[in-house]
Every structure is written in C-alpha cells, then in structure tokens.
Homo-oligomer: 110 residues x 2
DNA sequence: AATTTGCGTAACTCACAGGTTACATATATA
DNA sequence: TATATATGTAACCTGTGAGTTACGCAAATT
C-alpha cells in the first residue's frame, strides 16, 4: 500500500485538492465526473481522492462500479480547532488592550 | 531573490512553521531565540521566518541587529475565510435536514 | 580598531509529493 | 460471453521545498 497519509494541513496545501473540495461542496461527484474538471489524468485525481478520504475530508459511497465522493466534516473540524486557538489569542490580545485603555490613571513612564 | 512565496495553505503545511507560530503566540522572539527551540540550523529557521512573514503570519520589528518576530493576524484571517465557507456549508446542510424533518407530510417516494 | 554577535544569502543536496503511463480488476451492457 | 465502463495500483520521472555549509555584512562590544 502507498504511504499517502498526509495530515489535514498538508491535504489543503494542494490547490487541486482545495478545488475538489469546492466542487464537492456544490454536488457529490464520482471520480470520473470529478476528473472532468481537471487538467490531469484520472489516476492523479484518484490519488487526491484517496488523500482527501484518509484525512477525513470526504466519505466515499460505492454504488456498483462507481465511487461517489461526499464532503465530510471531520477534516474541516481539525483545521477549525487549530484556528480557534489563535482566534482566542487575538481575542485575549484585544482584551488586554481594552484593559490598558481602561487604566486611565495616566501612567506615562516608558 | 528567492522564490519562497508560498500561500497561506502551504505555509501552515509545515510542522516546524506551525510550532513557530505556537511559540510566538506565547511570546515575541528573535530569530536566534526561536532557533533555540528547533533541531535545525539557524539559516533554516531564518528561511521559515521569511516565509511566515511573506504570507502575513508575522510582522518583524528590527531593533539594532535583532529581528523581533511578532504574531500577525492577516494570514490567519485568510484561512478563517476559507474555512468559513465550509462552515456555512455544514450550516445550510443542517438547515436542509431540519426542513426535511419538519416536512411531516409523509413523503416516502424516493 | 578589532572582535563578537545576530542575521541574510548563495550554492548545494536530498526526500518526496504530484504527475505520468501501463496494466489489473470488478461491474455493467450488448 | 464478449465488450465497455469505472476505478485502483505499480513503476517510474521530475520539480521543488526543506535542510545543510560557507560566506558576507551591519551593529554591538571590547
């Protein structure tokens, strides 16, 4: 088996994969119908799909010989969690600034 | 000049850079004090800092011969915007489900 | 003025992600 | 059953991101 087990950050680093996610946000698609939107070979698309699947960005439903790709929330959640930490950082930074402004006791040294 | 102009997605794809952001969320650091935390050469850290700077994740304040790296919100905002699109997607998906559940008029065909 | 410190840049190596083509396999269709 | 369709996998090639070392330069320090 191949080693294509990239983490969520590496997964969205690729523009093609981001576009795939965007397409899948409009409609669920099979591998081939996905591939029609790209200027690359079908096996290449197939690889990307595998990567997206392994990282929890899509689920796959086999219908006969077709593989339907459906957007899945897991991968996005991991990213949001990471970002939320920094959102909190900016929030607390703002708080500190406010606290400083409320200190109207005229501290001018340094 | 070098071509190290990676987009925000590529920037956070690297674990070392993510750790740098984390360290900088605790405290502003110079290049050297940053480098102390990593098992890599100082020039390597310097490169990463350049990348982070170009993508808007940090600002740099030159004090004498020292370069102080400070966390900056711009890069994070771009990522949040991207994620927000999909958050909205999940939101609307939930709405559709709710709407479906509220249709208690027993539609069973397909 | 000489030395040390903090940092950037150039040139190089290397691993590996992302692409290809060729082939294999399972499911529809004729 | 023979053929077409939808897809996965193996083997390979290639560009480039991420690391290195060597060097240069400006700002402190002595």
């Amino acid at each position: 088996m191949e080693q294509h087990r990239l983490d969520v950050f590496q997964v969205i680093a690729d523009p093609s994969r981001r576009q795939m996610l965007h397409l899948l946000s409009k409609d669920s698609l099979t591998i081939n119908s996905l591939a029609e939107n790209f200027d690359m070979s079908r096996p290449a698309v197939s690889k990307h799909v595998k990567v997206l699947h392994n990282a929890g960005f899509i689920s796959i439903q086999d219908i006969g010989r077709e593989r339907h790709c459906i957007l899945k929330q897991d991968g996005f959640k991991q990213l949001q969690e990471w970002l939320t930490y920094y959102n909190a950082f900016w929030g607390s930074k703002l708080k500190k600034l406010e606290a400083l402004l409320n200190e109207r006791s005229g501290n001018s040294i340094k």
